[in-house]
Symmetry: C2
Subunit: 342 residues, 2 copies
DNA sequence: ATTAGCACTCTAAGTGTTCGAGTGCTAATC
DNA sequence: GATTAGCACTCGAACACTTAGAGTGCTAAT
């Protein structure tokens, strides 16, 4: 459906004003926009937009507020997304560059930035590590009975795990573990480091194998974490500050994020590029009264993970998309650079 | 001020009912308690308790609600704290024992347990590491330009840091760093590992010292984190579910926790044992309409850190104290055990 | 000291009324 | 044919008013 330019302009004005102030918008307040027509004309247009289903009146003597269809039309056909301010860009760059040591940090920081700048809940998924392999393992003794395992994957992720044994650990023992595990695991897919593997591995050492379960648990644990998707959530407390978001929706958003299976599935199945789900368009029933805006980031041109913000349907779509896209772009660059450098 | 037993019983009944249902409590509903007196008698007692300032009426035809003084009297003189249910104890034990690898994990988990069981925000401070010393440092190469530093303190804390250099790292180089840093630092107070030290240290290596700044930054960073107090906060989202807590207080609690200098100062200056701050008794103005309940935990009988929950003044003090004390006790035992084992 | 009884107070909830914001429609105008 | 001024209309917010009921304090009797 295509709509006359002036009508689009009016629709955009209603939506942008409504997003800004949260009150229904009447014909008179729209005369401030540079439309140069009388309020009666505007009313005619508003009536038409209402008939088309883009606006509704809460009651006869109120102004209009956008419907979800209205937001959808706005987002698809009217909204012009601009690149963020130079100042904002610099801020995003500096925040993200200050944690150039690890991809996880970058993603976590990206989530924080988004939630700060957009005053919403934000989420960032790590790239799926299912195809990654073990690159290297290393043990560091941290106490008489405790050690730290450091796992480095082929994709450059670093995971560490502390573990404790029932017996006093000796450097020699750790060396044996280190050598044999690296031999056995280097190049193996993370997903293949599972219970059966651990048993076979321990068994092949006879007596010595009895000393291994704690350590092998740590290894499996680290591999399984590195092979899955992790979600960093930021700004949940922003829900207390949002307007246009009722308590129930706020709780639903929290439950969506708290249920990692649901949010993981949803966020990792989001299409490439930028995507907006408005209210009932959301796959998850928990978000049916909220909006989710997502952007994918890439590593070396390959689709990798998702950044997303969630808020009321009355969220500032233009600003959100602009900042989200720029952040995703920057994240892509920085992580790609890390991977390239190795 | 001492109060007749029956009056105490009535005060307790009002408070406990009010905490449970959030509605003002009238004389009739108190007849269900086993007082065996008429509502008129209860009214006389209520009038007296109101005159003493322990109760107020929101309006003439309403029941009574407790004042902060009322809560204070209840907490000091009436409330009998019992040890938690066996089931709850077992749950706390199992959760805390499942992370027996690191003190930090135990504290983080303790916070989570508290916020889950009490449906409030919880905080846990790490022991101040100001007197701790460097025990050992270890480097693990994670990429061509990146490495991980693992710092182990004399108090058994383990901190890791990733860092990146401009030049390709060689195992030999890491070995040199490792050896010379361990030599220079082992036994040194964490707080003495600062900028001046780093400069002197790097200078003593001449040319080679130019390669060190990134690594030394990581070392200083890790030491300064380990020497300070960290606060683990859990359950901030519970604020959305609490009743008796208005939006402003909820935000204030968040701000209190967000301002680490304030919360750090407050939480680490809390007296030994269990402590309850009700409303205006709170040192921080941000908590003047909330209650904070804290319990200290010990390491090897030495005061170490604080566990705390924060909620509306209408929080279930009895349950909170009971669970908080048991958790603090268990944390003390587990961490002491870790330290003893080394 | 306790209690039954009662007058009293005050809120929550419902009703009626007014005010005004915003509308849709119509007839006049460009 | 599009635009606009004008006007009647609608409906909610705000306020006043009423009523019902919960809870009280007081008094006189036990």
């Amino acid at each position: 459906m295509t709509i006359a330019p002036r009508k689009q302009k009016i629709l955009a004005a209603v939506i942008e004003n409504y997003i800004a102030c949260g009150e229904p918008i009447g014909s008179k307040s729209l005369m401030n926009e540079d439309l140069n027509v009388s309020s009666a004309t505007i009313r005619n247009e508003l009536a038409d937009l209402t008939a088309k289903g883009f606006l509704v009146q809460p009651h006869t003597s109120a102004g209009r507020i956008p419907t979800e269809d209205g937001y959808r039309y706005y987002v698809d056909n009217i909204m012009e997304v601009k690149s963020p301010d130079e100042r904002v860009k610099r801020y995003i760059q500096s925040r993200l560059r200050s944690c150039d040591d690890a991809p996880e940090r970058i993603l976590e920081t990206a989530g924080k930035i988004l939630s700060e700048l957009l005053m919403t809940v934000a989420a960032a998924t790590t790239p799926p590590g299912e195809n990654a392999r073990v690159h290297k393992l290393k043990f560091v003794q941290t106490g008489r009975y405790t050690s730290m395992l450091v796992l480095i994957t082929s994709s450059g992720m670093v995971k560490s795990r502390l573990f404790r044994c029932d017996y006093a650990i000796t450097p020699e023992m750790l060396n044996v573990f280190d050598r044999s595990l690296n031999e056995a695991l280097a190049g193996r897919p993370l997903t293949s480091v599972n219970q059966p593997f651990a048993q076979t591995f321990a068994a092949s050492f006879g007596e010595l194998g009895l000393l291994m379960p704690d350590m092998l648990n740590a290894v499996m644990d680290a591999c399984s974490e590195a092979s899955g998707i992790n979600i960093y959530t930021s700004g949940t407390t922003k829900l207390l500050y949002q307007n246009g978001l009722d308590l129930i929706s706020a709780r639903n958003i929290l439950e969506f994020l708290g249920d990692s299976s649901e949010s993981e599935k949803m966020l990792s199945n989001v299409p490439d590029g930028t995507n907006i789900y408005i209210g009932r368009e959301n796959p998850s029933p928990l978000l049916r009264h909220s909006s989710l805006i997502s952007a994918r980031y890439n590593i070396e041109k390959q689709p990798a993970g998702t950044l997303a913000v969630i808020g009321s349907t009355q969220i500032d779509y233009k600003k959100a998309v602009s900042i989200l896209e720029y952040t995703a772009e920057t994240v892509s660059e920085l992580i790609s650079e890390l991977v390239r450098k190795g």
